[in-house]
């Protein structure tokens, strides 16, 4: 076996340029797949980090049945009127295990300041407790609203980056604090300016950059028909989160008389992230596999040429005792070796790409044992599958004809 491998490597090395060009397809294909899987892992990791930051004792209640019968994620269920009510909020407030609870509402109306308006922003009404749960919100100027602002229904807001740029272009953050912004018929004072959001938030697919925050009770006072978009709570860390999530679910279900809500724990969120990114990764890898097939065809082509060029060698090997199987094996090992070396270079290329993407775009490409195994599997598979036809052709050569071949 080692002799067969040595023969294969020697034969590849003796035609360096040709071998390298042949490998190129596999190199590109494997680099692509490993980089894309690694990128998926990187994104997954950073989102997971963000979710983990929330703490294990955080629960989310969402309207609609987001989990389908098989336990899969069904985002379409979140579309439509909310099924969460003020009554639900009151019921949950009565539970002693909940230490922090805030409703989240989406409000209509576009923020405007003078002639400028902030299209594409999302006005959200939350209780101040929200900032204790979602600790990643940071300000560059001013302050967050507090419980008193909420109780007094003060007309105060906090602006995300998008609203800052739209309403007050070329104005430094600390000068925005104290300015007035109109939403609908009401006028609000800006008390806080958000820093640029570093990470993509999974809450409704929005980043905080697009958001404008106001106190929940202020929102209710200035808007008719305020719907609760979701509820966010923190529970006593000594509680069993999973069991408590079920308790909350049961409570709301009994109240509604229907199973029309979803309770997410941190673990559930991580699973959703995992599901979605897993699906995307699979699709992308499927597409990238096409270039591997192209690489395989290149290998097949060059191996057919090699079999033809080495006809005399095949005849000689048979004369000195090689069986058909031995010849088949020799050429198969050679095509597999070409493909494997290509795969190894591809992994290296993906790693180099990872360094760049980390430095330039802050997107890490995670290369772990898993992706090495995948790369090895893919390139070995390509080498064997596309090497088979040339190898069979070599094995079937008649030794007498082959020895006469010039």
């Amino acid at each position: 076996m080692s002799l067969v491998l040595a023969t294969a490597v020697r034969s590849i090395w003796s035609k360096k340029t040709r071998s390298f060009l042949t490998m190129l397809g596999v190199i590109i294909g494997v680099a692509q797949i490993i980089a894309l899987i690694g990128l998926g892992q990187g994104v997954k990791q950073s989102v997971a980090d963000e979710v983990t930051q929330l703490g294990t004792n955080v629960l989310f209640v969402l309207p609609g049945k987001l989990q389908d019968a098989e336990g899969g994620f069904n985002p379409a269920a979140s579309v439509g009127a909310s099924t969460l009510t003020e009554k639900d909020l009151e019921n949950l407030r009565a539970l002693p295990e909940i230490t922090t609870l805030t409703p989240v509402s989406l409000l209509a109306g576009i923020p405007t300041a003078g002639q400028r308006s902030a299209l594409g922003t999302l006005t959200v009404a939350v209780e101040p407790d929200y900032f204790e749960v979602v600790t990643t919100i940071r300000l560059t100027a001013g302050q967050k609203f507090n419980a008193d602002d909420n109780r007094q229904q003060r007309r105060v807001i906090m602006l995300g980056r998008a609203a800052q740029r739209s309403l007050f272009p070329n104005t430094v953050a600390k000068d925005i604090v104290g300015r007035s912004v109109a939403i609908g018929k009401e006028t609000f004072e800006v008390i806080g300016v958000l820093a640029t959001d570093q990470s993509t938030s999974i809450f409704g697919g929005q980043t905080f950059d697009n958001m404008v925050f106001m106190p929940y009770l202020t929102g209710k006072a200035t808007n008719e028909n305020v719907q609760i978009f979701r509820m966010v709570m923190k529970i006593d860390p000594d509680q069993d989160v999973k069991a408590f999530a079920q308790k909350v679910h049961q409570l709301l279900k009994d109240e509604h008389g229907a199973d029309d809500i979803t309770v997410f724990t941190q673990a559930d969120l991580l699973k959703v992230v995992d599901d979605i990114l897993g699906l995307i990764t699979k699709a992308i890898v499927g597409l990238a596999s096409i270039s591997l097939i192209v690489g395989g065809i290149g290998i097949m082509n060059i191996m057919l040429v090699a079999v033809s060029e080495r006809t005399k060698e095949i005849g000689l090997r048979k004369a000195v005792g090689a069986t058909r199987q031995a010849i088949l094996w020799q050429f198969l090992v050679e095509s597999a070796a070409i493909s494997l070396i290509g795969g190894a270079i591809g992994v290296g290329l993906a790693a180099v790409g990872g360094v760049f993407s980390q430095a330039k775009a802050n997107l890490p490409i995670v290369i772990n044992l898993n992706s090495i195994v995948i790369a090895t599997g893919f390139s070995l598979g390509v080498g064997v599958i596309f090497g088979l036809l040339p190898a069979i052709r070599a094995a079937r050569k008649d030794p007498i004809e082959a020895l006469r071949y010039e």
């Binding site: 005399k312 060698e313 048979k318 000195v320 005792g321 069986t323 058909r324």
Partner: protein, 221 residues
């Protein structure tokens, strides 16, 4: 017991509509250690006979026994390959060395397909010393003269310690001095008990043999 026994061997090829008999009812036996020269004009069936004896080809009819075992039509490809590996060493007119590997690797080639690979490197080096090329182990074949190439081929043929050496015009591409050296090496193998079958046009070489077989139109005459 004869090493090689051919009984009524016929080999025919289809040429268009008609059949061409390359070998026509050939019977022959060769004893262990015997040196047999096979002569005859081009197209008389010499190469076909060698290919059948060398298990590279199968007769259309007739029986071939090698070292007492039936070795012709009933044998599988794998069994034939094993017999070639164990019993037969080939020497060709045009040497047939692998161009991309050195002299030593060329001599080692048969060991790659042999069941017994112990000490194959030492054995290859010793064989190359015996043919006078102990100083050329790492040479590429294209750096060698014709005579040297054929001596490498002899060492390769001896690698698996064959019972029969089949040499097809081994001196045909060599000058007379190199040819003599090659013949000296080949005939020297008989002292080991190796059987030698030599295809040649050269009457001087044939004279060295114990027996000369003349082929004409596929028959022994």
């Amino acid at each position: 017991m004869s090493l090689i026994t051919l009984n009524h061997i016929t080999k025919s090829f289809a040429v268009g509509e008609s059949q061409f008999r390359a070998l026509d009812n050939v019977s022959l036996s060769v004893e262990p250690g015997e040196f047999v020269a096979i002569m005859g004009p081009s197209g008389s069936g010499k190469s076909t006979l060698m290919n059948i004896i060398g298990l590279l080809d199968r007769p259309s009819s007739g029986e071939y026994r090698l070292d007492g075992r039936p070795a012709s039509t009933t044998m599988s490809d794998r069994q034939q390959a094993r017999l070639r590996s164990e019993f037969i060493g080939f020497i060709f007119q045009n040497f047939n060395l692998l161009p991309n590997v050195d002299v030593l690797a060329n001599v080692l080639l048969p060991a790659m397909y042999s069941r017994d690979q112990r000490d194959s490197k030492q054995r290859a080096e010793r064989l190359l010393q015996e043919v006078g090329l102990g100083h050329r182990l790492r040479y590429q074949p294209n750096k060698l003269s014709g005579g040297e190439k054929q001596r490498v081929a002899i060492a390769r043929a001896l690698m698996n310690n064959p019972k029969v050496i089949l040499a097809d015009e081994p001196t045909g591409n060599l000058d007379s001095k190199s040819g003599q050296e090659v013949m000296k090496l080949l005939t020297a193998q008989r002292h080991r008990g190796t059987t030698l079958l030599l295809v040649t046009h050269n009457h001087d070489l044939a004279r060295l043999a114990d027996r000369v077989i003349q082929l004409m139109d596929g028959r022994i005459v």
